[in-house]
Each structure stands twice: as C-alpha cells, then as structure tokens.
C-alpha cells in the first residue's frame, strides 16, 4: 500500500479511536477494546463483501443482512446444534470446515438466486428488491420455528468451532476478563479479512477484475465487445454474497446463539455505514471504517445516558441509530469518498 496522505490520515484516526477507548474507559478498556475489535473484524468482513457489490460493481444491495443470515443458518444447521426451547441437541453434523464451506457456497447461491431476476433492474429498483428479499428472509426465518428455533433460537453449536481453539489464547487472556471463545472468533475474523483481501487484490488486477470495472463504466460498450455484462455482475454479486455469508457465520459464533432477530435490516445499515466511512471501492477501507465505526458506536452509549437519565436498551439503540443515520447522510453529502475511497467513485448515476 502506498503511503498516501489519505492512508496516513486514516491510520492516525484509527489509532486515535483506539486511544479514545482507553481514555474514556479507565477501567476495563482492554475488555472493551477486544470486544470492539471482534465486532469490527466481523462487520469489516461483511463490509468488504458489500464493497464488492457496490464499490466494484455499482450494485445497490440493501439486503446484505440476508446473505449473512443464509451463510450462518446453513452452516450452523449442518453442525451439531439444538433448536428452540424443546430442542434436543443433535449430535449429528459435519466437521466445521465442511459446514462452513457449504454455508459460504449457499450464501453465494442465494446471491445467484436473488441476482438472476434482480440484477437487470435499474439501481433504485434493485435496492427495493433486495430490501424486499431480506424482509422475506426475515419472515421465513421467524416463521419456520421448527428449524430456526423461534424466539429461542439455535444454541449449543459453539463447540464445533471452539474445539479448534489454540491453547495459547486461553493463557494469553488470563489477565483480561475476556472470553477466549470470543477472542478465537475475533482472531478468525481478522484472519479471514486478511485472506479475503489477498484474494480480492489478486482479482482486482486480473482480467476478471478488469472486466468488472468495465461493466461498471459502461455496460453497453461491454456488450458491444462480446462480453456478457449480466453474467459478470452476477458473479460479483455471488462473490460479495459469499463473503457476507462467511461474516454471518462468525457473527453467530460470536454470540454463541443464532437468534431470528440477528440478521435484520438494521444490520445492513451498519454495514453500509462502515463501507461508506471506510471508502467505497477501497479494498482496505472497510477495515479501518469498521474499527472507527465501532469505537463511535460503543462510546455513544454515553450520549444516551446524557440525554436520558436511566437510558433503557431501546433508548441506547435509538441514539446509536440516530448517529448511524446521521453518519451515513453526512458522509454521502460531505465526504462520499470516506476515508480511503476515490471521489470519482460516487459521481455515478443509477444505471
């Protein structure tokens, strides 16, 4: 990575945010930070997937949470788990890696399923359709109680992943009050980010990446050159969906339980905010954006307490989202390129 002005500013801001965590939390800062970094990793990964959709291909996907959800559900249902209140723990299941791969592929296929009809639509209609699809997904998940466990969700699947946890993590965390299982998920999230970014970098400079960029520039010209613009877009849609699916699995393992309320539209908005903040079209943007975003989010709970004396959960969430909405708006209006994005990226019109 070239050491540009943008990058230096971003690094400074990121380091400052981390410092802020310590400054504002005299006690327990490490725990907060580790928790934050885990979420940042998971959401960062999801935002990288969304960036493939929007940054690389110009697709307005507002149903991202459902891709994450498909990945999570398929993977976890293939592992030993227990669903619902009466749910019995079924010991049958596939090894974690296999289940994970299948889950990611399932998310990609869901992307294909959604994309086939939707990708030909103009931008704003695609946005509406993806929102609708995510809503249908949410309703399905909620209503298929026998599979998804209804209000109680799915539990008891963590072991499949945690049994691979290296011993040194437990030792390392002895001093901090931080759950080793969560740490393991966090480490994996960042590991996957690294691997996915390597893959994307390779693709970016490849003929495929070049073709995708051409599609974003002018589809008609692409067709006149004998290339199938729609299929290229679909492939990119599947790639982003697969990455999202991966992040969804990690999110579920982070919580230790898979609730029907986990993969909802609000999740999509978080990821969008992170992507825009990090910089649309930038490979590493989502990573920094995610860290800074999560610092902002976790410290805003203070604001909630300032406003409302005994801020209840709903009010804290409310303040969070007021800020998320404000962040998305302000960024798009004043600095659409975010931290690491390029300005020209967003002078696009809906195509």
């Amino acid at each position: 990575m070239k050491l540009s002005y943008k990058l230096i500013t971003t690094l400074i801001l990121t380091i400052f945010s981390i410092y802020l965590v310590f400054a504002l939390n005299p006690e327990g800062a490490e725990r907060i930070l580790l928790n934050l970094l885990t979420f940042a990793g998971i959401y960062g990964l999801s935002a990288i997937g969304l960036n493939v959709h929007f940054g690389w291909t110009g697709l307005l996907n507002f149903g991202h949470a459902s891709f994450m959800g498909v990945g999570a559900y398929v993977t976890i249902l293939l592992l030993p788990h227990a669903a619902g209140r009466e749910g019995e723990f079924s010991t049958e299941g596939l090894p974690f890696i296999v289940a994970l791969i299948i889950g990611v592929i399932a998310a990609a296929l869901f992307g294909l399923l959604l994309g086939l009809p939707a990708i030909r639509l103009r931008g704003d209609y695609l946005a509406i359709v993806t929102i609708a699809a995510a809503e249908i997904f949410r309703l399905l998940v909620r209503d298929l109680e026998s599979i998804t466990g209804g209000v109680y969700g799915i539990i008891s699947f963590s072991d499949s992943l945690q049994k691979y946890r290296p011993g040194f993590i437990d030792n390392l965390l002895n001093n901090f009050e931080f759950s080793p299982s969560q740490a393991w998920v966090g480490i994996l999230a960042w590991l996957f980010i690294f691997l996915v970014l390597l893959l994307l970098k390779r693709l970016n400079n490849s003929p495929w990446g070049r073709a995708l960029r051409a599609v974003r520039e002018d589809e008609d010209a692409v067709r006149a050159m004998g290339k199938n613009a729609v299929w290229l877009k679909l492939q990119s849609f599947m790639l982003g969906a697969g990455i999202a699916g991966l992040s969804g699995v990690l999110l579920a393992f982070n919580y230790g339980s898979l609730q029907t309320t986990t993969f909802v539209p609000l999740l999509t908005f978080y990821v969008w905010a992170i992507m825009i903040l990090g910089g649309v079209g930038s490979l590493t943007g989502p990573v920094f954006g995610s860290i800074i975003f999560w610092v902002i989010i976790s410290e805003t709970d203070r604001f909630a307490v300032l406003l409302f004396e005994n801020a209840n959960g709903q009010q804290i969430a409310g303040v969070r989202f007021v800020l998320v909405g404000l962040l998305i708006m302000s960024l798009m209006i004043f600095k659409p390129s975010g931290l690491l994005g390029k300005k020209e990226e967003l002078l696009l019109n809906v195509k």
């Binding site: 359709v129 809503e135 998305i328 798009m332 967003l346 002078l347 019109n349």
Partner: protein, 305 residues
C-alpha cells in the same frame, strides 16, 4: 376472507394515499424517497403529541406530556407541519444536493440515511410504545358487504375524497399541469416558463402533506408507532410498482390493490399462524411484477432495467 374485506379497504386507501404522495414526488424529482415512511409517521406522531391526553402516562422525550388540543385541530396542524418539513427537506437538503451534481445513487443513500436518522429520533422522542389517539373506542358496524367502525368509514370516505381532489388538482389546475410538465421534462418545462425549482418545492410540500395525512389515517385505524412508516414502506413501494411507476393514478390503484390483497390474504388457509407474513404477499407480487411487467399496470415503459 370476507371479514377481512373491511380491513382490506382501509389498508388499501391508506397505502393508496401514501403511494400517490410518493409517486408525485418521484415523478417530479426522480428521487425514490426512502424516508417517505418517516413523513407518514410524522403526521401521526405530531397529531398524537398535540392531541394526546395531558395526563397520558407516556411522555415525549421522557419529559413532555401531550398537549391535549382538539383532535381535528391537531391533525390539521400536523398535516401543515408535515408540509413544512417536506419543504425544508427540499430547501436545505435536496436542492443543494441537486445543485452539487452528485449522482442519484448518492441521493438514494442519503434518503436511506435520513430515514434511519429520523425514524430513530422518533423512537427517542415518542418512545417505542404503541400508542393511540385519544379517540373513543367504537364497535364495528356492518355496511353493505364489509365491517368497520363508523369512524373508520369516515376515514375511508375522507381518503377517497382526498385522492379525488388530488386527481382533480393534477389534471385541471395550472399547478397540476406545471407539475406534470416538470415530471415529463424538466428542461422543456423550464423553457416554457415553468420555474422547476418552485414546482419541485411545491411538490415536496404537497407530497409531504399527503404523506402526513396518510399517517394520520393509519393511526386512526391502527395505532401510532415510531416505525409505523417503515413498516408500510415496502407495501407502498409494492403498490407503486404494481400500479406503474411514474403515474399517480397507477400508484393510487396499485396501492389500493396491494392493501386489499395483503389484508385479505390473512384469511387464506396457508396463512394461518403466519399473519405477519401477509406483507410477504405484497413483496412477492412486487418482485414478480418487476420481473415480468416492470412498467406495472398503467406505467409507461420507462427504463426499468
């Protein structure tokens, strides 16, 4: 199924009015306003704040009790305020954006951010509790072939009157014709002496007032919630798509059909126990339309794909 007909008619007219408002705005500004739901909710929330009983247990912003003003007055005032809100949005937000030539993807994302922002402001302001207007409870009566409370019947009639008025304004007044001119071609309209900025502003005000009214109707029939707009937003989109994007008449018809179908579907056998999934019916219809007849029933073949 038939006993849902009354509810269906009511949901139908609400979505109809809201869809017309959205369609008007889209036609003139080409913006798909994802914050539309929030303007709808604003009408209801403001009305609640003005007219709610003074000794209500639910406090706005944890501090303020409702003002206890006469309901009709409150509603009228709320509608006007919604219009002002819409006008301000145009003047302070969307006009500058238009001038600065950002792509319309950016504007779309701004409306989404705006909707998240405003909606959660409502959550903080009006709390997450489901509340009702201070209107006395009524019983359902049977009219012709459907059941509803007398008040709801009045709402139904009012909505029909409102929509007819909107239709008349659009078709026969100078303002209406100017709006349609800007919708068809902003450049041409400008050249013919129409001040498109002014028309756009008026459209925002008008559309927001309609939306606020739709919200008040919805709240009379159901209740007031912080996310009531968001809940029906997808239905409104579905109705607009069904009726045909770019035509207000289409939005009206499409919105109505969606509302009726959604509510009636509650009575269908396979929907038992899955009442909330009724919205999925509308969404499925919308996706199918976009696939097979993207211009909807009445729409022109605008570029959909």
């Amino acid at each position: 199924m038939i006993d849902q007909l009354g509810n269906g008619l009511l949901l139908g007219v609400i979505i109809s009015v809201a869809a017309v408002a959205l369609s008007l705005l889209y036609g003139v500004t080409r913006i798909v306003n994802f914050a539309h739901g929030e303007i709808i909710a604003l009408g209801a929330i403001l009305t609640l704040f003005f007219s709610g009983s003074v000794d209500s247990r639910v406090l706005f912003l944890d501090r303020f009790s409702p003002l206890g003003i006469n309901f009709a007055l409150s509603a009228s005032f709320a509608v006007i305020l919604c219009g002002i809100f819409g006008g301000l949005l145009e003047l302070l937000l969307f006009r500058p954006l238009r001038r600065s030539n950002v792509g319309n993807i950016a504007v779309l994302v701004v409306t989404i951010g705006l909707s998240i922002f405003v909606r959660h402001l409502y959550l903080l302001f009006a709390t997450g509790k489901v509340q009702n207007f201070p209107l006395e409870l009524q019983r359902r009566e049977t009219y012709l072939f459907f059941d509803m409370t007398p008040r709801n019947l009045k709402v139904l009639i009012a909505a029909i009157i409102v929509m007819s008025t909107v239709g008349l304004i659009l078709s026969y007044t100078k303002l209406g014709k100017a709006m349609r001119a800007v919708r068809d071609s902003e450049e041409l309209a400008n050249v013919s002496g129409v001040n498109s900025d002014y028309i756009i502003f008026i459209t925002w005000v008008f559309s927001s007032m309609l939306a606020g009214l739709a919200g008040i109707f919805q709240a009379i029939i159901n209740d007031v919630r912080w996310n009531m707009g968001f809940l029906i937003l997808l239905l409104i989109f579905a109705g607009t798509v069904l009726g045909g994007i770019g035509t207000s008449f289409g939005a009206m018809v499409g919105g109505f059909i969606i509302g009726v179908l959604v509510q009636i579907s509650v009575g269908l056998p396979f929907m038992e126990g899955h009442v909330e999934a009724k919205n999925a019916v509308a969404l499925a219809i919308m996706i199918l339309i976009l696939l097979f007849r993207p211009q909807g029933i009445f729409g022109k073949k605008e570029r959909i794909s």
